[in-house]
Symmetry: D2
Subunit: 343 residues, 4 copies
Amino acid sequence: MSDNSLPLVISAPEPRTLDLIFNPPALARLRAGYRIVETTDSGIAGLHNDILADARYIIGQPPISDALLARMQSLRCVFNVETNLINNMPYETLFERGIHVVTTGAVFAEPVAELGLALAINLARDIVDADLAFREGKELWGGDGNRTARLISGADVGIIGFGDLGKALNRLLSGFRTHTRVFDPWLPPSMLIEHGVEPGSLDEVLSGSDFVFVVASVTSENQGFLGADAFAKMRKGAAFILLSRAGVVDFEALMEAVRSKHIVAASDVFPEEPLSLDHPVRALPGFLRSAHRAGALDIAFKRMGDMVLEDMDLMDRGLPPMRCKRAERETVSRMRSKPVDRN
Amino acid sequence: MSDNSLPLVISAPEPRTLDLIFNPPALARLRAGYRIVETTDSGIAGLHNDILADARYIIGQPPISDALLARMQSLRCVFNVETNLINNMPYETLFERGIHVVTTGAVFAEPVAELGLALAINLARDIVDADLAFREGKELWGGDGNRTARLISGADVGIIGFGDLGKALNRLLSGFRTHTRVFDPWLPPSMLIEHGVEPGSLDEVLSGSDFVFVVASVTSENQGFLGADAFAKMRKGAAFILLSRAGVVDFEALMEAVRSKHIVAASDVFPEEPLSLDHPVRALPGFLRSAHRAGALDIAFKRMGDMVLEDMDLMDRGLPPMRCKRAERETVSRMRSKPVDRN
Amino acid sequence: MSDNSLPLVISAPEPRTLDLIFNPPALARLRAGYRIVETTDSGIAGLHNDILADARYIIGQPPISDALLARMQSLRCVFNVETNLINNMPYETLFERGIHVVTTGAVFAEPVAELGLALAINLARDIVDADLAFREGKELWGGDGNRTARLISGADVGIIGFGDLGKALNRLLSGFRTHTRVFDPWLPPSMLIEHGVEPGSLDEVLSGSDFVFVVASVTSENQGFLGADAFAKMRKGAAFILLSRAGVVDFEALMEAVRSKHIVAASDVFPEEPLSLDHPVRALPGFLRSAHRAGALDIAFKRMGDMVLEDMDLMDRGLPPMRCKRAERETVSRMRSKPVDRN
Amino acid sequence: MSDNSLPLVISAPEPRTLDLIFNPPALARLRAGYRIVETTDSGIAGLHNDILADARYIIGQPPISDALLARMQSLRCVFNVETNLINNMPYETLFERGIHVVTTGAVFAEPVAELGLALAINLARDIVDADLAFREGKELWGGDGNRTARLISGADVGIIGFGDLGKALNRLLSGFRTHTRVFDPWLPPSMLIEHGVEPGSLDEVLSGSDFVFVVASVTSENQGFLGADAFAKMRKGAAFILLSRAGVVDFEALMEAVRSKHIVAASDVFPEEPLSLDHPVRALPGFLRSAHRAGALDIAFKRMGDMVLEDMDLMDRGLPPMRCKRAERETVSRMRSKPVDRN
């Protein structure tokens, strides 16, 4: 395994572990094809010069100083497997040198989209409270239980943000024949049209939808951009499903919009996680809660390793990575979605 | 409105009403284009001979004797808007005479499929109990709450019965890239293949699926055909979602399979409806309950009227009905799904 | 093979043969599962009473008199494998008795749709004459050769008739993001919408399309219904692709519309087949010719046998046929598409 | 128009022109939003220093020396609207500085894919020679004319190269239910799977397909990589459709494979363009010719301008371009597809 002809990988994937993100056969392939030096965020700076000089890839997002980077002359790519970019390395130098910084967050798109769709139908059909009523012998049968029930099929759907998650959600909706409008100022309108959705302004998406899905990352520009005004623009009785980060909404305003019965809402993310035991959202009718569970499935983590191996294979052959998502020079330092500290 | 040149329709749609199944513009078109004689199941036999002789269509499923039918020499179609066929008219004579018997049950396919899909994801992601835990301050965050979580995307899905509802479910699943197997002995295998699903035996569907959806009508041949043996064949931890009628399963055996933690289950239908307050399914963990609410949405009922008008238009022009589902001479008397007595 | 317990099939499939429409394994299954009595159109009336009394199925479309039919008391279905219905049997009695008359023409839908799509692109891109020019050293390179070139992708497409062939064509177009309008007075508009196409009047389809595909059967009502007026309504330069039967168009008017350069056209069918050697369409520029070759592929014929076997299996079990297309009591005697006399 | 606050664009799009690639409203928007300095490949170096210093975008692919680039300190992007990258600028410095080099070749994907599909069906159904025979009164009717006819529907299809064109072709095939295998060593297999195709080796694609589409660009590594060995591996009677550049095949070997009747072929590209009048491919039976006409449609050129405007808008807002295809630092200098010298 210490075959010095193999490309060298520095592994510092915390809070992930190699066992979390590689299934056993993939881990075996990683170890057979590469020299792996396992370290930690704080340990990387102390690695031997020879190791740093040879390192072709980093798995993880350890802090990298200018000096440290200067010692890594073979580096081709940093694989961020936590998936939220933070400002702890000299991105400008990395890009100048043609070193890729990539994230494996696409693995979460499918599980989050699936839960998000289910949350939306739950809101539309009141599944949770109907089951609780049934447990208590208070269920309403047939049409009596459907006074506010609605369909997603054929509905007006709005999606805010059209990255991997927005695209996955749109794919899951493909059988529902929805009219879907998307707001994403980072994408050209014609690309949205090619995905079968209608580009829209934020106002159009908010005011023209029966279901609004928020899947936009937090950036330096959009923190808290969905506030009381935004919720007021939504249709009476519409559903708001928050799947990315609580940071993009004014959470108090969201709760107030639900409390006033203007909209209903579901969220997988919260202003603090874990949330204080007396937080009012815990008891808010019309609000469906999920404790940041949308993406953290074992099957999702395991796909990260597959993605890493595929892109290493491309880069080993002198090609650019195509599987993971590349950080963009223009936007990398605007990212503000907080990393998780648990898996 | 008493323009005698207009075709005559006898309306006896109970438990539906014309106002339930026609939206106002559609009802206006009905009344503008036809003479409507409104009566009841018990009233039809007492209608004046002239009315019976002129009647081109019946909306409803009133009992019809041989003698009564003999008096209706202009009859072209019986529109069953309750949608479950019962044996209360001389079907053989109707078919001999070329009178169509059609049902409007297709309107329920989309809402039931949507709820069914949501129930499946709820079982896979434990959405109900996770929200309850959250209310109580006992939620598990991130991966800790996902120990048994699974995806529908990419899963092995089984569908039992492939009528309108099975097809609608398959359409909703189209974005999920599932491997879907279908058991339906009334359809040729090549038609299933054309729908992108794999034909399978009942055993293959039960033993090879992570999610089993039951959407088959009750017939004289399949009552209770899903019993303890069937559930034992299912994969450990698989989900069973019952959407058609409780009559196709041995409900006690289903509860036992859930109680033993072999499978999880959700159902929209129950052996008695309403269900006794002390029925054990009310308190059964691993079982998600819906009180026959899957299809009974106002939007679904309103589509019935549109279907009726479209087929009347075809038959008025001497063409066969194409929108509603025709009862089949070979199978009409085998149907055993109980009609509902409320909407 | 003379096992008298096997269901009896009378085979008179001319101009087809059993070897044409069954591949060897299917033919083996047919012979293993049924007693086959092979006869001809003229021979069936002379069959022994016992055979007629036992016959469950007929493969073919032999003439059947009232008297002959009265002798066939076990008959369940006539499988018309030529696929064009003619008025040579007492349909009314067949329907009264619940005997199905079905056709296997769906096998032609895919090959005809494929050729039809190719003919349309050939017209749009002038593929034939461009290849001829190339052979002669007169080709135009790049944009110079594309002065009149158009795309189907994104185009306005019209389809006249939406049976199996229209649906197959629509499926092939699914990747082309066309705006497709359909005229079919025998179908309810909502069914067209469910197929993702827009219902339109004949005028709307003609005047609003860049490509018009004619796939309607000839009936007693639509012979020659596409004449000079119809072609005049088409867009200047639009393409007219005729795939069903020449009987639905005024062929002289079609040629004149092409001659005047108002439209371009392609056709697989002609007023007489074979066509006289001096017919002017042979030399008409802007007209692409195919000698009734669109459907007659061996792979299509062989699928007929599979369809017959699947429906026999259903009917043997007391179920209605679902694979072949059933003749409709209301319309069977209106069909006027001429049968072919060769395969 | 000389508003100095507007961003400055140097336009040198030869062989394109602004009028070719922008429709009038788009050109008006360009001129309203930017200062346009129109020059030529040879003229750019002589532009005034102020202009060079201000230039944010270049439309075209003029030669750029190190010295020239050093004078352009505001440059954000070079829009190559000819679309084939040549080695006439210091790419390494461009990438270091974060200047994008993008191409608008995606506009050709749809028209080329459409023609490619039509060429394939033409080969499968012999449309060209059948029309010629018809003109001459020698046509074969029905099945007689279909001895070698095949379907694309359900066929094994191979695609070599899966860039924009390969993806467009795969989309057009979506209604054909093909089994499609793709060889593209620059892409991770899982991305191919996500597009619904099966990743395959070159040998698997060649030997396992009824139709092989070649849509790969020429690079420094793949010139002439499809030679006699490759054609020998193809199925007897399979069709080879060449759509990208003649440089990837050994054209003599391709002609020989067709001459020997092992395969049939179609090509839009040739070793020399225009081709000598006595080139043997002009008279080769089984070979269908198109004179590099597949992409050069006016509608395609006009989409280039839209793409340019969309990406300028993103970059004006400090975002990366998303609409055009970015040249990759690793591969930009490997590209060898010859630019065209006419439109």
